[in-house]
Symmetry: C2
Subunit: 182 residues, 2 copies
C-alpha cells in the first residue's frame, strides 16, 4: 500500500488559519488550473482524512472526490454530521487498521489528507510520499502541517514544479521512519 499526502501550506507551514480559514488559498485559484489534482485522483483508490478536514470538505459547494471511498477517522462517529455523503465510511484513527481495511478491499494507493491524519501516518512510519504545495503567503499563525517527531525523517526529493500563480509544488518520498520498531 502506498500512502500519499497531498496538501497546500503557506510559506510558513500552515494548512489553515487558527479558525480553520482557507481564504488565503484563493490567491492561487486560476481558471482551468487544478495543480495536478484530477490526474492525481485518478491514481488513488480511496481517501483518508480526519473529522475536521471532512467537515470542511463537506461544506464545499461540490463534493470533490466523486465516487471514491472516503474514510473519516474518528473514535466517535456520532460527532459526524448526518447524513454522511454516500461514499463515506468511518474508521478508527489508527493507520495500521486503516491500511488493513483498505488492503482487504484490494486498494493500492491511499490519499492521506488533513494535518492530524498526515502527522499520524508520518509518526508511525506509514506515509510513503508527500506532495506539498507552497502558497506564496506568510500567515504568521495558524494550524501547522507538521508536528514534533521522535527522530528526524529523511526525504528524497522527486520533483518540483512551479506555476505562474506562485504555487510551488514539491514531491518527496519518505526515506526513513521515526519509529523503526514498527
Amino acid at each position: 500500500m502506498i500512502c500519499t499526502a497531498v496538501i497546500a501550506t503557506s510559506l510558513d507551514g500552515f494548512i489553515a488559519r487558527l479558525d480553520g480559514g482557507l481564504d488565503w488559498l484563493s490567491s492561487v485559484e486560476a481558471e482551468g488550473q487544478d495543480y495536478g489534482f484530477a490526474a492525481f485522483m485518478k491514481t488513488v483508490d480511496a481517501l483518508v482524512m480526519g473529522r475536521k478536514t471532512f467537515e470542511i470538505v463537506r461544506d464545499f459547494p461540490e463534493w470533490p472526490y466523486g465516487e471514491k471511498t472516503v474514510a473519516v477517522l474518528t473514535q466517535d462517529p456520532l460527532t459526524l454530521l448526518q447524513p454522511l455523503p454516500k461514499p463515506v465510511i468511518v474508521l478508527p484513527p489508527d493507520p495500521e487498521a486503516v491500511i488493513a481495511h483498505f488492503a482487504d478491499q484490494g486498494a493500492k494507493h491511499l490519499y492521506i489528507d488533513g494535518g492530524q491524519t498526515i502527522r499520524g501516518f508520518l509518526a508511525c512510519g506509514h506515509l510513503n510520499r508527500l506532495i506539498i504545495s507552497r502558497i506564496p503567503i506568510l500567515l504568521g499563525q495558524g494550524i501547522p502541517l507538521f508536528g514534533s517527531l521522535p527522530a528526524d525523517i529523511r526525504l528524497q526529493h522527486t520533483e518540483t514544479v512551479s506555476f505562474p500563480s506562485g504555487l510551488v509544488q514539491s514531491t518527496y518520498e519518505v526515506l526513513t521512519q521515526p519509529d523503526v520498531e514498527l
Copy 2:
C-alpha cells in the same frame, strides 16, 4: 536599499535544532556546489545578523564573508566574544538604524541572515526578498525561521531551482508589509 534574506530550512521550517545544531545540513553538501552563494555574495554590499548567528559563523573553520562588512545586531556589544574579526561592526537591533547606517556608506544591497534578524526586518516592512532553500528532512523540533505577524504578508514567487541533492531553492519578493504605518 534592498534587503535580502538567504536561509536554509528543514521541510518543517526549522533553521537549526533546539541546541543550534546544523548537522542536518550536511545531507546537501556536495563538492563544488554552493547553491549560488558565491554569486549572490558578489551582489551584496554588507551582511546583517544577530549575535547568535554571528557566534555560530565565527566558529566556522573559515570566515565565509571575505572582506565584506558584517553588522552584528546586539544591544550589548560586550556579550560578543573578543576580538571581533576585522570586518565586523556592532549595530543596535533596529532595522531602520541599520539601513540608515549602510545608506550613509553608499550600500545598496544587504544580506539579512539569522532567524531573529530576518523576522525583525519582515515585521517592520524592511525585508524585500527571501531566498529559501528547503532541505529534504523533517526535524520535528528546532528553531523556526518564521514567527507570528500582525497581518498576512503576500509574496511574489520569482523562481525555484531544485538540485540533485534534493535542496529546493525558491526566491520570493515581499509584496505587502504587515506594518503599513511605517
